[in-house]
């Protein structure tokens, strides 16, 4: 994807450290710190009009080809997400955390990342994985319950989807620091939720990245809820991007339903990181339209009208309005994109309806590089049980019933 980006115009001038041991009190350097804009950076407004002036934060609207590509990815992501939620309702998955409504945040950010870069996602970010080229069946293997992780992390340069909140942000910092030590010009991008910013690990990740000046981009997807807990119970900061100040790192508060802004700001941060400029914190302000997961009941904690309010700010429709008004979304392209999305949905249905064969004996195979004697004994006992069950014609399901 050839991209024109806004790097250089943004207010992300270097923030040097003013402390070097003994001399701090005598330092009289100019104060280059700045607060993130309180109004989210936006390149397209909800009506699909290009935004001008200070609200853009100095970032340029990506070119039409890029925007069309982002549109395509969002449409596919949405269709996939809706399909997986439906499959989950049908009981084909153990759980699924939907990103419906967050496509601009997910796709804008991940599309700015190159294939050589690393991505450290959460459970919420399946659609970003899809955009990154991972097969639906491999993404969903963990949510179906086959194994804890279903794709080859190295092949896709994508870590497993982290469940323990904010833990993966530290992995991103570590990996990108290692790359930097090797003069390998890659960047690590990690996503985390608004709730996750409250965890100690988020703080430690921001701080290590800033002190080590690692090539890391932190995308905080502020969907305004942590399961049932609203943002007002999570932070008292004016914006989550404000946190960047405390680490001496640039922070951006971005309209997370504007894929153009998310893309442009993330791209600038990635290039900054790649060129040795250190980490950036980007907050995308968005909204989780679906329940937290299928087992959640959001009517207990938020009003239907809030959801309706945010549905009217749909990120895909916004870009569509712009593209249509620019004549950049001809009917045949729109149809072709819709077909591609249907194809992904069909593939997803197919792979998720087929049962994966999982060998229970594999439980013992990957715990250590070299099998331990005691574990092999245990493996032998399960093998004998399975053989006996097979001989007596009983199915593993009998097992399951008893275990529950």
């Amino acid at each position: 994807m050839p991209i024109v980006h806004a790097f250089g115009k943004a207010l992300i001038g270097g923030i040097p450290s003013f402390h070097d041991g003994a001399m701090s009190l005598s330092v009289e350097r100019p104060d280059t710190r700045s607060l993130p804009s309180q109004k989210p950076i936006r390149l397209l407004d909800n009506a699909g009009h290009a935004v001008h002036g200070s609200a853009t934060g100095g970032f340029d609207l990506p070119d039409p080809a890029t925007l069309l590509d982002l549109y395509r990815r969002m449409v596919v992501a949405r269709r996939f997400d809706v399909q997986v939620t439906a499959l989950t309702r049908q009981g084909r998955l153990a759980t699924y955390p939907s990103a419906l409504g967050q496509e601009a945040c997910e796709i804008g950010a991940i599309s700015a990342l190159e294939a050589c870069d690393w991505f450290f996602p959460t459970y919420r970010d399946s659609v970003a994985l899809l955009t990154r080229g991972i097969e639906p069946g491999d993404i969903l293997a963990s949510f179906r319950g086959d194994w804890h992780n279903g794709y080859d992390q190295h092949a896709h340069r994508t870590a497993s989807q982290a469940t323990p909140l904010a833990t993966q942000a530290l992995h991103a910092v570590g990996l990108s620091h290692a790359a930097r030590l090797r003069n390998d010009p890659i960047v690590a991008l990690t996503m985390l939720g608004d709730g996750a910013t409250s965890e100690g690990d988020a703080h430690e990740a921001f701080n290590f990245a800033a002190v080590w000046q690692t090539p890391t981009v932190f995308i905080v997807q502020n969907n305004q809820f942590a399961i049932s807990v609203p943002l007002s119970r999570q932070t008292r900061a004016a914006t989550l991007a404000d946190k960047a100040v405390g680490y001496g790192m640039p922070g951006f508060h971005v309209d997370g339903n504007d894929v153009a802004a998310m893309f442009a700001v993330t791209r600038a941060a990635i290039e900054r990181a790649r060129s040795g400029g250190g980490p950036t914190l980007i907050e995308g302000l968005t909204y989780r339209i679906e329940a937290h997961t299928n087992s959640d009941d959001p009517t207990r904690y938020r009003a239907a009208r809030d959801v309706e309010h945010w549905k009217r700010r749909d990120p895909i429709e916004r870009l569509e309005r712009y593209l249509v008004s620019e004549g950049a979304l001809p009917e045949d392209v729109r149809t072709e994109i819709a077909d591609a999305a249907e194809q992904v949905a069909a593939d997803t249905r197919q792979v998720m309806t087929a049962e994966a064969t999982i060998d229970p004996l594999e439980l013992f195979d990957h715990v250590y590089a070299n099998p331990r004697a005691a574990l092999l004994e245990q493996r032998g006992r399960l093998a004998a049980e399975l053989a006996e069950a097979a001989a007596s014609g009983s199915t593993p399901a009998a097992h399951a019933g008893a275990a529950r």
Partner: protein
């Protein structure tokens, strides 16, 4: 200086027997404890309007208001660390960790402060607080939702660790935990949240620190707790056909361990096995096996068996059935004993 109990009320009259799940019994225990003592406050992740991801705190915020039960920021060390401060002031905080694995960020506060504060201060600064942990697996949860963390807590002097296996105990033990002057790790087996019993509330069962013989038998003692009590009872039922008489002890209190009740049972049957979901190596069953053996060696006809999960990370939903101890596996394990040596 410290919070005073300004609002102590008499216990409500016993209700008519009603069918309650364990989650419902825990909810009732919290409700009654909050009504009885206004030093009791409840907080954690999603315990407010949502009522907890397992609905254990359902409806409590609308009854008691946001000053008594509220949603905290999402940070487990913060939750436990602030609860310590609240207990220091004289409140009786009851905090929730959403799953075993999500208590790990609070590990330092638990081990370095919750467990040590009373001792550090020669008893001048007790910490009456309860950390509720929905625990263990068998609910089809994805990774990190089915850990068994009890061995971490029981290895820590200063912590009291209990785990009910049924609704009546859940109610009674949670009330007792909240009334305790000591911090209590209160573990709630997730797979038993929906187990039902007919109860008259407020029920008080055996003291929280006692094990209970839940089924009498002559040939072997099964030592179980939380989710495996049902496994043991089912094994005992099935064993009747094989002519084996199994005694089942529900340990209830993991720390302290009720040596008296357990040793009495083991000396009667001369054989014991401990059952838990957690991995065997370094699991709580090791302590059970070691101390039962130490105290009853010459009464034992065979080594204490450990029937447990394998020594692997907890598996994905489709594989957990192969990992967990089942009644069949219990019976198969018993069959390996050299019975003629008894």
């Amino acid at each position: 200086m410290s919070a005073t109990r300004t609002d102590a009320r008499p216990e409500p009259a016993a209700s008519a027997p009603a069918t309650l799940t364990m989650a419902g019994a825990l909810n009732a225990a919290l409700r009654d404890a909050m009504a009885a003592d206004d030093r009791v406050v409840v907080y954690g992740e999603d315990v407010g309007p949502l009522g907890g991801v397992f609905r254990v705190t359902d409806g409590l915020q609308s009854t008691f208001g946001e000053d008594r039960i509220w949603d905290s920021p999402l940070a487990e060390s913060g939750i436990v660390g602030t609860a310590i401060g609240m207990a220091m002031y004289g409140m009786r905080p009851v905090v929730e960790m959403q799953f075993d694995a999500f208590s790990y960020p609070a590990f330092e506060q638990m081990v370095s402060h919750v467990a040590k504060m009373r001792n550090r201060t020669k008893g001048r600064m007790p910490l009456p607080m309860v950390v509720r942990i929905p625990c263990a697996g068998a609910i089809g949860g994805v990774e990190h939702h089915s850990d068994s963390s009890e061995a971490y807590w029981t290895a820590t002097p200063g912590l009291t660790v209990v785990m009910p296996s049924n609704p009546a105990d859940a109610y009674s033990m949670l009330r007792e935990a909240i009334e305790s002057e000591d911090p209590v790790v209160f573990m709630e087996p997730k797979s038993r949240y929906w187990a039902k019993d007919a109860l008259e509330l407020p029920v008080r069962t055996a003291p929280m620190d006692r094990a209970v013989v839940v089924r009498e038998g002559a040939d072997v003692t099964l030592l179980a707790y939380g989710p495996t009590v049902r496994t043991a009872l089912e094994a005992a039922d099935a064993a009747v056909a094989e002519g084996l008489s199994i005694e089942v002890v529900d340990l209830r209190s993991l720390s302290p361990f009720d040596d008296e009740t357990v040793s009495a049972s083991v000396r009667k049957t001369s054989r014991a096995a401990v059952i838990h979901e957690a991995a065997q190596f370094g699991g709580y069953g090791a302590e059970v096996a070691a101390r039962v053996t130490e105290r009853n060696f010459h009464h034992l006809a065979a080594p204490v068996l450990r029937i447990t999960g394998f020594d692997i990370p907890y598996p994905s939903p489709k594989l957990e059935e192969f990992h967990l101890p089942t009644p069949d596996r219990v019976l198969a394990a018993l069959a390996t004993w050299e019975w003629d040596l008894a």
